[in-house]
Symmetry: C2
Subunit: 221 residues, 2 copies
């Protein structure tokens, strides 16, 4: 849920300063070439993850806490590629837990693109989120089919359980993982069991703000 | 157990080509400066880990297999900083499992520096390893005290269980983790439970051989 923390400050900054055309990261052309190599730009359908984990692979501590994410010094407000990532994203799909966590932040809705909540237990999207969020039912593949039918192809998959569901179906094309250099010792893991190993390639490995590493992986098919 | 695979080819190469003075990595001075900043060079006592894991944090698959490590393309035989790391290391401490795995490789002894096996269950070091390997008894702190008493200060801590024991006692100063871009789904994890979170700093983040990322972390105390 890294983005939800970093986003908030960037969202505020965007509202305040109105930089409508955000500059993309300097290696965008290289990344586009790499993506073309992997045929990701041709089909235009891709499911991507942009998330932070602890060094031992947790997205939250054992109580669901994410205070350890807030303690990362970021004096230059480096967005760590987040806005560049979002400009290439048509919509976000998140699970119910992640949606309810975002709602609990008690701030203006932080996303500028459509958000879909994939849940078979949530009755309806509560007010005041109905103008920003749509509820999706069914299984992961069915939800994807619905979105692709609407021309919504480049998706940001968010939330631990939903990411695990996508990985179990081998439906994740890219993983952008920012590692917070802390060993929590226990918590809620990003990854879980799989029916078969999944091979990726490392597209880039970067260090940010003197304390974070960010690795960008692409699924090899 | 990444090093045991990569080492073997490098060890063979060293024997064949006799490059006695291996060139160190280009950023050695920078790293030395950073280490000085953290006072690691002053005390000269440090416990370091150099290991590879899968993207989901496993050092071996569920059956202990490490074939997934062997499948990493490395056309230029990049040593990924291993020899530079070893030139700064006085000795290796490994657990019984790791020692027995190295023995099972059925190759000439691959290490040029002293190796200590910390085990309270192994009766003795078998032939023909006695000239290279010494047995240590007791707990982690006692073993460290013995080695420091002999002036052996810069240590390479190897093997999943031993690394976990060191981390539980907050005795690891540096972690150099090479990530193989594969999700195994299950296996033997590098990390385990801790009594308290441990904060590190990311010293460097690099990409090797178009498929591996290597992150170097230093414990913040």
């Amino acid at each position: 849920m890294f983005h939800k923390l970093t986003n908030l400050s960037f969202t505020t900054e965007i509202v305040n300063n109105c930089p409508l055309h955000l500059s993309l990261c300097s290696n965008k052309n290289y990344i586009f070439q790499e993506l073309k190599k992997f045929n990701l730009m041709n089909t235009n359908k891709r499911n991507r993850v942009y998330i932070a984990t602890s060094l031992d692979g947790y997205i939250a501590d054992k109580n669901g806490g994410i205070e350890w994410l807030e303690n990362v010094p970021n004096p230059e407000n480096d967005d760590m590629g987040y806005e560049a990532f979002m400009t290439e994203t048509d919509a976000i799909i998140m699970g119910r837990n992640t949606f309810e966590t975002v709602c609990s932040f008690d701030i203006p809705w932080p996303y500028k693109i459509p958000v879909f909540v994939l849940s078979n237990t949530l009755n309806s999207i509560p007010n005041p989120y109905q103008e920003h969020v749509q509820l999706l039912r069914g299984k992961v593949k069915e939800a994807l089919k619905q979105l692709h039918g609407k021309g919504i192809n480049s998706l940001y998959i968010d939330g631990g359980k939903l990411i695990q569901s996508f990985l179990k179906e081998d439906l994740i094309d890219e993983l952008i993982i920012t590692t917070i250099p802390i060993l929590l010792g226990e918590g809620i893991p990003l990854f879980s069991n799989l029916d078969k190993p999944l091979q990726f390639e490392c597209l880039s490995s970067k260090k940010f703000t003197n304390s974070l590493s960010q690795n960008h992986y692409i699924r090899l098919r």
